[in-house]
Point group: C2
Chain length 277, copies 2
């Protein structure tokens, strides 16, 4: 039994990505109220695994996921990545015209992915935040105001709502990268491409450090697939870098580069070495 936490309630994109891509049994699915709650529950051992959104193709990184993995837990690693297409629907309790809608209930990152649709088609609607897309649909299903939610077809089905408009995201190739988390590292023996994710903390006022990091990988022919700076939370201009490279952490070139980085940098944190999505 692997109890697997996800951003609840049922019908979120995390739920959809989990059920569509893994064989987890319904009885083992544990809905939790927020992304940080999923990460903290894996860390505490309350659940064995969790799925969290990491990055959306339109909106970029999910900052709560990055910050909790980098700064709040030390025993949680990524064991797999799942790229899942995201096609938002505009959902209401009963059929209505777009002009009638007074309020759009949505998770902020979902409304950001539909920024153009909202500004052009719903310019006068008030935007109200919900903790997840499914929560937004649930709220709309229970309210008799002129309101609509942004969420998945699954959520519309679960909460007995109707879809007013299909695929309202700003670009049709919208997708989100989810990661599975566990307290135990992923097996390194699968015969498929792996990726290794780290967080590098650079000592303040060392402007050449990023170049040095990249060179450690480049001169060993290790490809970077992602680099992203985030505030270290120690003041403006002070960053940590989230870096994904191709390969397993034990591959000779990756291992050598990581060893050199550990000598040079204030901190190198391993987020996981796992099969590519």
């Amino acid at each position: 039994m692997t109890r697997t936490g996800f951003l609840g309630p049922r019908g979120t994109w995390s739920d959809e990505a989990l059920t569509a891509n893994t064989g987890v049994a319904e009885a083992d699915m544990v809905p939790l109220p927020s992304v940080p709650d999923v990460i903290m529950a894996v860390s505490s051992g309350e659940i064995e695994a969790g799925i969290v959104p990491m990055e959306n193709a339109l909106e970029g990184s999910v900052t709560a996921t990055l910050d909790y993995l980098a700064f709040e837990v030390d025993n949680v690693v990524i064991t797999r990545e799942i790229d899942h297409p995201i096609h938002h629907k505009l959902i209401a309790r009963t059929p209505m015209k777009l002009e009638e809608i007074e309020r759009v209930v949505s998770m902020p990152i979902a409304s950001a992915q539909c920024r153009k649709f909202i500004s052009v088609r719903l310019p006068h609607a008030e935007t109200v935040a919900a903790g997840s897309t499914a929560e937004a649909v649930r709220i709309v299903s229970e309210s008799d105001c002129k309101c609509a939610a942004i969420g998945s077809q699954l959520a519309a089905d679960i909460y007995g709502c109707v879809v007013l408009e299909e695929d309202i995201e700003d670009r049709s190739d919208n997708e989100t990268r989810f990661v599975l988390l566990s307290a135990a590292p992923a097996p390194q023996d699968l015969d498929r491409p792996y990726k290794t994710s780290i967080v590098c903390t650079i000592a303040h006022d060392q402007p050449g450090s990023l170049l040095q990091i990249l060179q450690e990988f480049a001169h060993r022919y290790v490809n970077l697939t992602k680099i992203e700076s985030r505030p270290s939370k120690k003041g403006l201009g002070d960053y940590v870098f989230f870096i994904d490279v191709e390969g397993k952490k034990d591959d000779a070139a990756v291992a050598a580069a990581l060893k050199c980085l550990e000598c040079k940098l204030a901190r190198v944190k391993m987020l996981g070495s796992y099969p590519v999505g």
Copy 2:
């Protein structure tokens, strides 16, 4: 007369940063409903200048600002940067205990800066999004529900509210970098440190490109003060890079590096060369 747009209504952090750091006359201040609206109004010539938040020390970049500057306008440049301290207050219409609060109205980026305070002190309060911190305070000032807003002292004063709790941000050194925008470039003749901001678009599947960009600056001894990847909105794993370097765009070393980048990269967009904040 320089009509200057800012995220309204009166009492936002943009308002506070603008009035505290510039000599703009009250009659020239133009409140607008969103950050993209400020950028688009400068672009259309409706206003001569604007102030927008660029990056917060805790939450990182304001994605709407970056995306609109990078992708939506071609004639808007940064003319100055302003680093302004951000000390959020928990604000209500009348005095009440924290346990009584059922709803927190806030701009999502402001609630994210107060994530720990909200989860520890207001664990059962529902979070409701508003378009700005001042809008949140205005809503709370007009409602008789058990609700509180996150915003500035200025907003509490303007809307006749009381401060329930001071300085609820997760770190006391919280600050936001604002930038002034104009359709005309900043004069390059001030005798003080300058910064130059660019956006680099890398052709897909050129994993060594970022290293090459950094090298162009490094071997000319030009320091980077920021690098940040954002989705190019063309699919997962496809990025543009926002880069800030020390110096004026016409400094010999900076100009030479930019010229080489323009030869190598799909696109190099100048966001501005302006006095440091």
